[in-house]
Amino acid sequence: MRVEVTERPGSVLASRPLHFVVMADCSGSMASDGKIQALNTALRETIPHLVDVAALNPHAEVLVRAIAFSAGARWHIEEPTPVEALVWKDLTAGGYTDLGAALHLLASQLSPSNMQSRALPPAVVLVSDGMPTDDWCAGLEKLMREPWGARAVRMAVGIGRDADLEVLQAFIGSSELAPLTANNPEQLVRLLRWASTHAGRVASTLTAAGAVEPNDLIGSSASEIVW
């Protein structure tokens, strides 16, 4: 939202940027059992809900970025893209689970020199199906040394029984919120949608929202264990 008022002192008014970052595990194991396809589907279905989050919080401009990590990490969506304009391009799987590289990449973009001081806390959602294969602790430490990294609203969704929940819990940081685990495509859609919209809501709320319990979502979803 941008507003220009005649004779109002100062330059253009604008909503405050809210950086929403998806960190997606694209390791070789994600290629099995249709996990990477399910992740692409879930992210594609999540985006419209982020539009709703943006609509409910007109003072926030939701800007989406995505990191894909496998053998190293790279920006899948590098340019912060307004959620309304985002067209999701499918991720592909293959390689290791270099979460540490992804955390380093994220931390570099959350340094004060790369963030507007007026930005809202970033919202970051990590999705992974396995154990990191690099020094993820160093990456997490670097992220937490960045003020914007420490302030980020961090959520994590594990895919299947091999997801390292301890790592995901360490990424979240808060003991009040556990990582979510999706055992089939339907759960992944629900949990990723919930994690994303919740993170977006909390980050965009100038007064932090109360905790929301996501377990009901798991309970109401299909109970079949696929992964």
Binding site: P9, V12, N57, P121, T205, T207
Partner: protein, 498 residues
């Protein structure tokens, strides 16, 4: 030489943020003003209650903060402590008044809790027990300005913004920055040792600051541009000049509403506008005008005598036009009122060809802003001026960090670190150049804003610094950075760079 009387006009306004309207939360900002005959002085305070869920009574905390700030700073001024302050003793502000400010605020909070215990609903909303550290629920930041006949003291604890607009439209942020205020984090009255987090600056009467703005962070955060204060400050200054304070008073709420709607947060602004006023009525009685939750613009008009003698040139060019609804010549001819007992007469302003920059240690360093003059002249007197470490000029934020590095950041985002031979600590704009003083006050650098390169460096004579007579003396004439040719051949303010 002629003399004048000056007055300060104060406008304040506060608007509830759109997210607070949406969620049913109150306006957590507060603003208050107090007028003192002693000095005479005007005090204005702005406070911003924290927005996090733990701070369930931050709206009350901010109200207490502005009330206590007016009380504590007012008493300090009345007792003479504030009036004796000069720039070299700014470091005593936390001890002399900060301790009292924080202690009185905490007392007020505890008194409030004693008569208004936390409710179960508040504890539930906070997500934690509040009784163990009740002041946290009232957490707030606070900004204070005290303007008297000679200067303006600016004090800041936490986020928000204070900036001053000079006669030529230059916007300066005199209060030192705080690297901890990033990612929405802030220092606060509710933290232990809060008095040590106070940051302060002193604007002398001859700095040509014509407008001082205090605002909660909701105002700045509503602008798209990081360097928003440049345009907002200049526009406010122009509006006051062109349309007059009455019109600004009428429009202020609408402007803030736009910011509160778009940015979502509460928005509070206090304007302290310096003007040539009529002679203050005699026998004016001290009165408190405390307004903790402004529902309409609060305007406080008060003639503050400038007992000093200012050159006619400065009056005409820098100060005269601010008079509302009257022509400049008429105001410029107003005679000085009788000087009140106990009011100090400032030192006469030096010859116009010279400029003054306040060094990091508080020395008033006089120099000629001309690259053809190979040496800076310096004196060691204290002028009671402001050490400027952040300055907004011509679309660029110039900032000196804690390590003495100078950076320039354009509104478009280009950031440069200017290579200087040693850490610097204060700066001023003169003659189309940025002049920067080394931390040890031994060198003065001139920086070209276009190339962002130093174009000259002058030694500030040690002999001169040791003198205390106040008269200008010539220090070492040798440029100490680059070749002599750089300084000697760069006439017209266009140095050769390096």
């Amino acid at each position: 030489m002629s003399a004048t009387t000056l007055s300060w006009e104060v406008l304040t306004e506060s608007v509830r943020g759109s997210t607070h309207v949406q969620s049913g939360l109150p306006n957590q900002d507060a603003v208050a003003t107090r007028l003192l005959d002693e000095g005479p002085a005007t005090i204005v305070a702005v406070a911003d209650g924290h927005g996090g869920q733990r701070y369930v009574r931050s709206d009350i905390g901010s109200g207490l903060a502005v009330r206590v700030a007016c009380e504590v700073f007012g008493d300090w001024w009345i007792n003479g402590g504030g009036r004796r302050l000069d720039a070299s003793r700014l470091h005593t502000v936390p001890r002399d008044v900060g301790v009292r400010l924080v202690a009185r605020w905490r007392e007020s909070v505890l008194d409030h809790v004693a008569t208004n215990p936390f409710t179960p609903a508040e504890s539930e909303r906070a997500g934690t027990a509040l009784e163990s550290d009740p002041v946290v629920a009232y957490g707030a930041t606070v900004l204070v300005a005290v303007a008297d006949v000679e200067r303006v003291l600016l004090v800041q604890l936490g986020d928000g913004d204070i900036f001053a607009v000079q006669g030529d439209g230059t916007v300066v942020c005199p209060v030192p920055g705080d690297d901890r205020l990033v990612a929405g984090q802030t220092t606060s009255l509710c933290l232990a040792g809060a008095e040590n987090d106070l940051r302060s600056a002193l604007l002398p009467a001859d700095l040509s600051a014509e407008l001082v703005v205090l605002c909660s962070d909701g105002y700045g955060n509503s602008f798209a541009d990081d360097a928003w204060a440049i345009t907002a400050g200049r526009d406010l200054h122009d509006q006051l000049h062109d349309r007059g304070i009455t019109q600004v008073e009428q429009d202020l709420k609408g402007w803030l509403r736009a910011s509160a709607e778009v940015g979502g947060d509460d928005v509070t602004v206090a304007l302290l506008a310096r003007t040539n006023g009529a002679r203050a009525p005699t026998g004016m009685v001290s009165r408190d005008v405390t307004n903790t939750r402004a529902s309409r613009p609060r305007r406080v008009r008060r003639a503050l005598f400038v007992a000093g003698v200012v050159t006619a040139l400065l009056i005409g060019t820098a100060l005269g036009w601010f008079a509302r609804g009257s022509d400049d010549g008429e105001n410029a001819s107003v005679e000085a009122p009788p000087v009140s007992t106990g009011v100090t007469t400032p030192a006469p302003v030096p010859e116009p060809a010279e400029s003054t920059i306040v060094g990091p240690a508080g020395s008033a360093i006089r120099f000629t802003p001309d690259l053809n003059d190979p040496g800076a002249r310096a004196t060691g007197e204290s002028a009671g001026g402001a050490v400027v470490t952040r300055l907004l000029w011509d679309g660029t934020v110039w900032e000196i960090d804690d390590r003495g590095r100078l950076t320039a950041r354009a509104s478009g985002g280009r950031t440069s670190t200017i290579t200087l031979d040693e850490p610097v600590g204060s700066m001023v704009v003169e003659g189309s150049l940025l002049w920067v003083v080394a931390r040890d006050e031994a060198r003065l650098f001139a920086v070209d804003p276009g190339t962002r390169e130093p174009v000259a460096a002058h030694a500030i004579g040690q002999t001169a610094l040791e003198e205390s007579s106040g008269s200008s003396t010539v220090g070492s004439d040798s440029p100490v950075e680059g070749s002599e040719g750089q300084a000697g051949t760069s006439g017209g303010g266009q140095g050769t760079g390096r």
